[in-house]
Subunit: 183 residues, 2 copies
DNA sequence: AAAAAAGTTAAATAAATTCTTAACAAACTT
DNA sequence: AAGTTTGTTAAGAATTTATTTAACTTTTTT
């Protein structure tokens, strides 16, 4: 009897690992470290976990689990929970992919918009200075103008990306693209 | 006179490099290799380039440029052009960020949906077998059911992501989020 | 307040990735 | 058709990144 239990439990484990592998591989591709990716995928099938449980389950060092779980908290895919009785910290994975993955993209995109727009603004100022510089030859002025305009046009994309982030954060995008649309 | 030309040309180079650095760093963060990221950012300010020009400009090996440009072609951020007169291959960067970055995300997301849905379908079959297995204890059946339902619910996300890709590919998303919205 | 347990930081090791050198294949010229 | 130029493949070197071990800090308990 308990023999059969073991076999069916093993089948459940096997099934979970198929999904864990796929989730972790995907996160890997998006630049999340393997330890953090595996950890999130594992936690996806758990109610909550302590650092020691993570270490045992993934057979990795405690500092690795510590930094991984912190990284996952930063991208809002894991949250700390307070469990009375235990003095160990407990963590839960965000099981709603809409929330976890969207938090990830919004953060990435916001960073991209901020950094790139800052660089663009600085560069455009430089180009303006070259254009206004009386010692610049007509050729050089034309070159500076060309680049200035190219950058100016690219801003449209960054503003759009910012709007996309906003519509995801506010949930407005789901008015356009419903969650439960069955095809 | 030509001294002043050099100075203004240097200022233009400096301005370009600010933007090149920002673009390359962003692509780096999205998992594109440094060589490919730098190459695209450099090509963003060029009409077209040959492999030798890339090597000279980035001071890197030719095979590195060859593999980098191929990777950029795969994600549709660079296209090959036929230049008569020259027997060297010439390449142009996609300068429209809407096209280049969206090609990148759509490819990533489509892969994510396909791989993860495949793993989910397989896992769900396994869970059904455990549920139907007459030797499974009630506890194990309940466990398998719980995971099955969790996976079933997650499909909503992947279908939504698929719809997002479709609305980007078709351009329909720009009806909801216009490109030229000025704030 | 002292001791023990939990978690983090920092340095060092291990692993993986990226890039280069060298050999090869393909295409174009004369 | 032979030679030259261009581009690619494959193996090795080097850099970078990820993980572990060890020392330290913080928190909790008695």
């Amino acid at each position: 009897m308990s023999e059969s239990n073991e076999r069916t439990e093993a089948k459940i484990e096997e099934a979970k690992y198929k999904v864990i592998g796929a989730i972790a591989e995907t996160m890997d591709l998006y630049g999340v470290t393997p330890a953090a990716a595996n950890l999130y995928a594992t936690m996806y099938f758990k109610d909550q976990m302590t650092l020691d449980e993570m270490r045992t389950e993934l057979e990795m060092s405690k500092p690795s689990m510590s930094t991984s779980v912190r990284r996952l908290q930063e991208i809002e895919m894991v949250k700390k929970t307070f469990t009375r009785g235990s003095r160990k910290h407990t963590y839960v994975a965000e099981k709603n992919f809409f929330r976890s993955f969207m938090a990830f993209y919004c953060q990435m995109w916001e960073r991209e918009v901020k950094m790139n727009l800052e660089a663009i603004e600085e560069a455009q100022e430089d180009f303006i200075n070259v254009i206004k510089d009386s010692t610049s030859t007509p050729d050089i002025v034309a070159e500076a103008k060309k680049y200035y305009d190219q950058l100016e046009e690219s801003k449209t994309y960054y503003h759009w990306l910012d709007d996309l982030v906003e519509s995801i954060r506010s949930g407005k995008i789901f008015e356009f693209l419903p969650k439960d649309k069955q095809d």
